[in-house]
Symmetry: C2
Subunit: 154 residues, 2 copies
Amino acid sequence: MDVAKELAMENLKTNCGGPFGACVVKDNKIIGKGINKVLCDNDPTAHAEIVAIKDACKNINSYDLSGYEIYTTSYPCPMCLSAIIWSNIDKIYYGTTTNDVEELGFRDHRIYDYISQLMKNDDSNKMIENKCIDRESIIQIFKEFKEKDDKTIY
Amino acid sequence: MDVAKELAMENLKTNCGGPFGACVVKDNKIIGKGINKVLCDNDPTAHAEIVAIKDACKNINSYDLSGYEIYTTSYPCPMCLSAIIWSNIDKIYYGTTTNDVEELGFRDHRIYDYISQLMKNDDSNKMIENKCIDRESIIQIFKEFKEKDDKTIY
């Protein structure tokens, strides 16, 4: 966590993004590092955890981080939490909480609330408009995928 | 949506990732395109929507896609939905549903369920272990960030 903290502190100086840092670790060795680079990279997905996961995957040449852990200075937002799950990381060590991050002005908590509402089919606080179109034709692509013998589900 | 569908169909041939495609659009013009590249890029975050958002942001040189819409062949997973919200995209047009994607074997639904449980402080189905450490020292970084005059909240 000390390295993640240093990364977050460095980011304070650069205005590259929010004050967040993360490291992907296995057997006490750092395999990937990340800082928040949303502003300097013009990339809304470049949160510290995403950058660290991409770095680790590049370094081990795999999309599968089973057996790895992530240290992140703040509890991951829903985007990063989901990315961590998709990557099969085993454990998250985090510093500050979603409430702490909300106090800085970031929307993590509101996005968590929105997703939770979606699951309850509660439409009262529509954070983003959405509309289903063309399902019948797109489901044909799924049928073809199901029939493929050489597919990989990750 | 026709372009997103074509991208998804092309991906069936390449085994680059799941059968998904996405486009970011403004005023009927495509600004960014994406296919799922999890397998070929060894990147668990390379879902079609994330790839399309990164492409659009690169093309307009901004992390802010306010006023843009996204067409995606499947309803976004929680990672991509959150990325869309972080990018300030206004509207999502999607084809197949989270249930349709679950039937292919992808974990979108389970991640949505897990996040929803988290919000209810329900610990019964722990999808990933997590532990809070070092909060007191990391909150000091937040204090410094709060005092910065030139910070940008996105």
